[in-house]
């Protein structure tokens, strides 16, 4: 199955969405990424029981941290699907990209060089 998803999405593989830490998401935005999202397994079907719930909590936490800082919290998101759902993966990638395009560039980016 060859599926197309937006080229602007950079994928980082992790063994479980529960591996993604608050700092990974925060640093992505700090370093100028326009958005960051986690794609985890469906709720209730984590091999490690609650990895994806932890991931969801972390996304919510990072979102609140960004709001504190003055950046749209919605630049970080969580999506869930099963491993067989390639088309859904591509659809989420497009949805996230469209959403971030609508928000515009990360406001940090114009300041990072300065």
């Amino acid at each position: 199955m060859r599926l197309e998803y937006p080229a602007s999405v950079k994928i980082i593989h992790v063994p479980c969405s529960g591996k993604v830490d608050v700092l990974h998401l925060l640093r992505a935005i700090q370093k100028g990424a326009d958005g960051a999202y986690i794609v985890g397994c469906l709720e209730g079907s984590c091999h490690f029981n609650e990895g994806n719930y932890r991931a969801k909590e972390r996304v919510q936490y990072v979102s609140s941290l960004l709001e504190e800082v003055g950046i749209e919290g919605d630049r970080v998101r969580m999506y869930n699907l099963t491993s067989g759902e390639g088309p859904t993966f591509a659809a989420y990638a497009k949805e996230m990209t469209d959403h971030i395009r609508a928000l515009g560039p990360n406001p940090i980016k114009s300041k990072v060089k300065s």
């Binding site: 830490d21 608050v22 700092l23 925060l26 640093r27 935005i29 700090q30 941290l65 504190e68 800082v69 003055g70 950046i71 406001p107 940090i108 300041k111 990072v112 300065s114």
Partner: protein
């Protein structure tokens, strides 16, 4: 353990607004365990501060280090060589550690990164409940192991008061009456006679910082004598 929570971001940001180079010092013991001021929380706060200051066009340079403990000069000594590079310090230790750090470097402005909230037990990941106010005159032996100073809204050593109401405290229906619980537990243990024991009031008047010297130890200045 000693429990603390991160200070509100805006308050922290405001405190260090005038400083351009700030060292953020975490503590590797109590506040690490309660997820408030360890290595990770230092990194999170620094990332936030870095972004916020960039957005304000007032960039800041942040250092990060986490000591084993800040309530011990032996570990604070690790800062001696680096402190000179910074205009100010944020300490994410409990109130005790923050003060000891400030005492070691009296010329440096030191700011608290957390609000210290008490001596608490770990009820679940990230969930802590206060159990002791370190009153210095423990009565747990008479109260079935339930602290009335902490758990009773009035901190009564000799309770209950007249407000006890079917197991609840008069301040709220959500608040159990500590002395009711003490009564229940002592009664289950067949030790209800203990509730009649009278505990002298604690001398809260003219409080000075308490000192603890364990048996066999002396203050450093008395050591030589």
């Amino acid at each position: 353990m000693i429990v603390a929570k991160r200070k509100p971001f805006d308050e922290l940001k405001e405190m260090i607004k005038p400083y351009k180079k700030v060292l953020n010092v975490g503590c590797g013991t109590c506040v690490s365990v309660c997820l408030a001021g360890g290595e990770k929380e230092v990194a999170v706060l620094n990332a936030e501060l870095d972004m916020a200051r960039k957005l304000d066009d007032n960039p800041i340079e942040l250092g990060a280090v986490t000591l084993e403990r800040q309530c011990d000069q032996e570990y604070l000594a690790e800062l001696d060589d680096m402190i000179g590079d910074y205009d100010a310090v944020v300490s994410m230790a409990c109130g005790v550690g923050i003060q000891f750090l400030a005492e070691r470097f009296p010329e440096k402005p030191v700011f608290p990164g957390v609000d210290t909230t008490g001596l608490a037990v770990n009820q679940d990941v990230g969930f802590y409940e206060e159990r002791c106010r370190s009153c210095g005159a423990c009565v747990l032996g008479m109260t079935g192991g339930i602290c009335p100073v902490t758990m009773c809204a009035k901190g009564l050593y000799n309770g209950p008061c007249g407000g006890t109401n079917k197991g609840k405290c008069e301040i709220s229906q959500d608040q159990p009456c500590a002395w009711f619980q003490i009564h229940e537990r002592l009664s289950k243990q067949g030790r209800l006679d203990l509730i009649m024991g009278y505990k002298e009031p604690v001398e809260w008047l003219d409080q000075v910082p308490r000192m603890t010297i364990q048996p066999g130890y002396k203050k450093p200045e008395e050591e030589k004598a």
